[in-house]
Structure formats: C-alpha cells, structure tokens
Assembly symmetry: C2
Homo-oligomer: 334 residues x 2
C-alpha cells in the first residue's frame, strides 16, 4: 500500500466569506524528511480566524493559489532525523492542512504527555489560551469587581478570557451570536450575564448587563457590537483588540461611527494584540492555565470535525461564529 | 465711576460651528469677595477646543443658557480675603469669559513673576504645555530616530508636541491646514517635514514625509487625517488621542473607516488623553518645559485678540484652526 499525503490547498481567493469551492483536496506523495527534520502524522489541526487574512491578495503575507492552507497542528512523530525527537513523541507546529509533514525539528514544540489531552495544545494550553491570558491580564489588568465584556465569548479565545476574568473576581458579561449560545455562557461558563449580539435591542441588553458601565473590553469581533460597547466604557477603561471577526469577511469594508472622542473623555486605552513579542511570558501563562485546569477552575470545550476533508466546511462555520468552543479537525488517531 | 464686570455668556446652543450670535456680552456688577476668596482682574483668557463640548445639551457637563463661558484665565489680585494671596499677585484659574471674578483662593494657582511672561501660564507652561509634554512623553515615549506625526501642529498643543519630539531626536512631521502654516512649521519650528492636511494628495504627502512609516502619532484632529495616518503606522506604534478638532463641530456625526484590524496587525496602542489624573507629574513637566524655554530649545507663539468683546470671534477662528500658536484674549494690562 502506498501512503499518500492528503492536503487542502487554496484553489481560489474568496470574495467575502470563503466557500467550499475556494479549497481543493489534493493527493501528494509522503514527504521524505531530511537531516534535522522529522516526519510527522497530524492528529488535530486548529482552525482559527487568523487564517482568513492571508487568503487575500492584499495580505501582507499572502498565500499563493495552490499553497497548502496554514494551521497549527498537533502531530505524532513517525521518523526523526534529529536527536531532539523520537518516534511516538507528540509535537505542535505550523504544519498546515495536511495529513503528513516533514518539518525542521526546531519549529516543533514537544508536548508533554499526561499533562492534558493533546488537543489542548491547540486550545486552552495553546495559542487561544495564551491570547486570552496575556490579552486580558497583561494588557487590561482587570481588577476584582470591575465589569469585563468579552465578545465572541463562546469562541476558542473568548470562552477562556471570560473564565479568566471570572477567576479574577470581575463581573463578566459574555456576548455571543445566538440566544442558545448566550444561555450556554451563563449556564456552562458561569458568566455573570450573557448577551445575544443579534438581539433586537443590543444597546438595552448591554445597559442591563453592565449597570456600572464597562471597565475592560476583550474584543474578538468589532463592528456594531464594539460601537455599542464603546458607548458604555467607564473612565480609564482598557480595551484589548484581539480579533475583528465581523470585519474580516466583508467584501466591501464597512464604515462605522468615529469613537475617539469617547476614548478621550474616558481616558481609555486600546491595545491591538498579537502574541508576537510576548514569548517570554508563554511559560508562566501556560503554567497558570494548566494549574487552573487541574483545579477545575477553568473549563474548555471543543468542536471536533472528523477528517481532513471536513476542514473547509468547519473553517467556514467558525468564520460565521457557529462553533461553541475551540474548532478542531481530527486528522488521525494517536 | 462705577466699575462693571463685562462677561460673555452662552446665548444659544450652536448647531455645527458656533456663530457670534450664540454668545452675548452682558454687564454685571463687580463681584464682592467673601472670606477665603480674592477679587481678581483678568489679564488673559485662554481659548481652547475643549470649551466647545459643554455648549452642547448632550454634554456630560452642559452649560446652561446664560452661563458665563468657561476658560482658564490669568488674572491679577485686586483684593484678598485670604492670607495666601495679596494684591498684585498673579494667578491662574478657571475664571471664565469675564473681566473680573471673585474666586476661592484654593482654586487659584499663583504664578511666579520673572519666570516667563504671565501669558505663558495659559500656554507653554500651562495646560497646553502639560498636554503636549505628558501626552507625548508619558504615553508614547518616542525614541530617537522614530517618526512622530503631530496633527494641528501649528496649534497651542501641537506646536509644543512637535518641538518636544524634535528635542527627543525624533523625525517630526507636522500637519497643519494650509500651505502657509505647513511652511511655518518647517521654517519656524524646524520640524523635519510638514504636510498640508487639505492637500489634494494627502496620502502621497504623508507617504513622502514618513518614508519609514509612523511610530508615534500625537493627534489633535481626528477624521480623514487620522484615517490616513493609521494606514501608515508601524509595528508597536503609539497613538495619543488628545483632541478631535475635525469632529467637535459637526452637526451630524460622520462615519469613518474601521481601523481596528490595523491596530491588531501592528500591535499598536492608543490612549485617550486628558490631564485629569496626571497632577503628580505637573511640577516635573513644568520644570522641564521652563528649562527648555530658558535654554532656547523650545519656542512658543501666541495669537492675542484684544478685549473681552473679541473672544467669540477668536474662539470661532480657533475652532476652524486659523490660529498659529496659542490663541489668547488680552482682557486688561498688568
């Protein structure tokens, strides 16, 4: 039997939301590792909104048509031509939407077995967890009793940011895009209040959920929701801008109300957040997250699609905010 | 001869830019100081854009019709019922658009004679100076060689922010609203480049003036100019939002492009700035500004209208950005 490597490549540049036809499933030979590399088999791949932007020709780092779609992946080592890894080790790296990869071992992070399920390396103990932890705590430093609003609070990052704020003793208001998800935030994540961003009276719902205004806003969404939150920020509010899910699939960029006068009158600060540059904080953040996880203070949820061929549809669903928790694709079993 | 106190009050709420008919000159009896108060005669009053907002009914702290227009004023003490001040002392306080006032001496700041002309207490050594110094240095911490853009760079705050950035060793690009003013920024203030915000090709002019992008943006204006600057910010840019002169007189709030995606990709920080809360820094800031002034490193310019009756027209001109330097009204001579 010849083993093939199934990959998903960019077939066409999307206009607006991607469609399944913008992707192509291709069959390639198994890659052969060179010196310093390891051959790995993917277990889980991580779908996140940040993968949308390089699909655009206007991106600072655009994909070419035919390129394998990028993604963080958890994989098991099959063969290693480097002393740092051996067969059976589990690693995480930017390996893309494919079943196998040969990768420089320096670009792979070894994951400790037994610490937590391997999939958590792509969620609560991976990029989404670090984003929630550092974006919320390092940038916004929420204090007990302050009101923290989290948008896309049912998403991979938001569900963690909301819980971390709750652990900090804040009043946490989660925003999601359906009544069902809002109920889930309240019942499952134990947030203090939850708002459906599509409710008829969003302003009223926010006013009711934030009777003392908004001290910290952890934003993954932007757009009209953020406009409404900005109108409620308190003096010295801190805003971490971690994502703009409402904007990244627009065919024509939209206009919005100018809000910088409000930023002045409230002496508010706003921070555009990327993990780049925070690497010296990763170990501490992971350790604290793992400790909260072990103590049962932090929950996580995953939506797991099955098989590489399901990745495009799962990706599109996530861009529409349909996932409850971290969206993964399981590629193979350990 | 009976001395009267001429005041200018709010006669009508402006819609858009104020008109002269929105103000009224009224004659009142000379106020009588009570215990703990001093009777003062105004020398200079300070006109600044921050006085526009409370003219709106929608303001958080609206003026009532008939109220004396607010302003910081430098005044000479005529009579004092408090041991802390004596006749002939010169003070600064929020005394409003009027020729005389009786004020609680705790709300008056005594100005040292000989340090600099008294008018500077309303400019380079007053609120505009503190705003420029703290907004630029404390919030944005510009580094030698970085590119700093200052909007309304010919205004009371901007002319100082630009010079402070130059003293710091930055490449300073000033933006003003005419070719004449842009030339003045270059020739008189010795900025590295100057841009007319009304030039046909604003994007091109900014690109040419900022060949290495924008590291720090000190903004007094907002609107389309800021949209253009945001498109050029570098990684880890810092933006101090100190004023939004282009927005505060709009009859209908305008929409603008959403730019928070750019804030994320550049990991930029944005700070709404008011002096409130920085008071423990005032003494240091004033000392440094006075020292630069004494050494000739810092220049200041004033436009001085004459007589309380000229205040409305001077205020309106300033809102249109017509002043070169700090806009004052001289009310009387020392």
């Amino acid at each position: 039997m010849t083993v093939v490597n199934r990959q998903i490549t960019l077939a066409a540049r999307p206009s607006g939301y991607p469609r399944v036809s913008d992707f192509q499933l291709v069959y390639r030979p198994l890659p052969a590792p060179e010196a310093g590399e390891a051959l790995v088999r993917a277990l889980y791949l991580s779908l996140d909104p940040g993968l949308r932007e390089p699909m655009n020709a206007s991106s600072a780092t655009p994909l070419s048509l035919g390129d394998v779609m990028p993604a963080a992946v958890v994989a098991v080592v099959l063969r290693s031509l480097d002393a740092s890894l051996e067969p059976g080790d589990v690693v995480e790296g930017m390996l893309g939407w494919q079943e196998y990869a040969a990768a420089d071992t320096h670009l792979l992070r070894r994951i400790e077995p037994d610490a937590a399920p391997f999939s958590t390396a792509l969620g609560v103990l991976g990029t989404p967890g670090l984003t929630a932890f550092l974006g919320l705590l390092d940038l916004c430093d929420p204090q007990p009793g302050e009101t923290v609003v989290v948008s896309e609070a049912a998403g991979a990052v938001g569900m963690l940011a909301g819980q971390i704020a709750r652990i900090r003793g804040c009043r946490v208001v989660g925003v999601a895009n359906s009544d069902t998800m809002a109920a889930w935030l309240f019942d499952e994540l134990s947030l203090d209040a939850a708002v459906n961003s599509r409710s008829q009276d969003l302003e009223g719902a926010l006013a009711e959920s934030c009777p003392r205004g908004v001290d910290v806003y952890f934003d993954n969404v932007g757009g009209a929701l953020s406009d409404a939150v900005f109108r409620r920020i308190n003096s010295h509010a801190r805003i971490a801008v971690c994502g703009q899910l409402s904007q990244i699939n627009l065919e024509v960029p939209e206009l919005g109300p100018r809000f910088l006068g409000r930023l002045i009158s409230q002496q508010a600060s706003m921070y555009g957040f990327l993990l780049v540059g925070f690497s010296e904080r990763f170990a501490d953040a992971r350790k604290q997250m793992a400790s909260w996880l072990a103590q049962g203070q932090l929950k996580y949820y995953e939506e797991i699609a099955q098989g590489i061929e399901s990745a495009p549809q799962a990706f599109i669903g996530m861009l529409h905010g349909r996932n409850q928790g971290k969206q993964l694709v399981q590629i193979s079993e350990m």
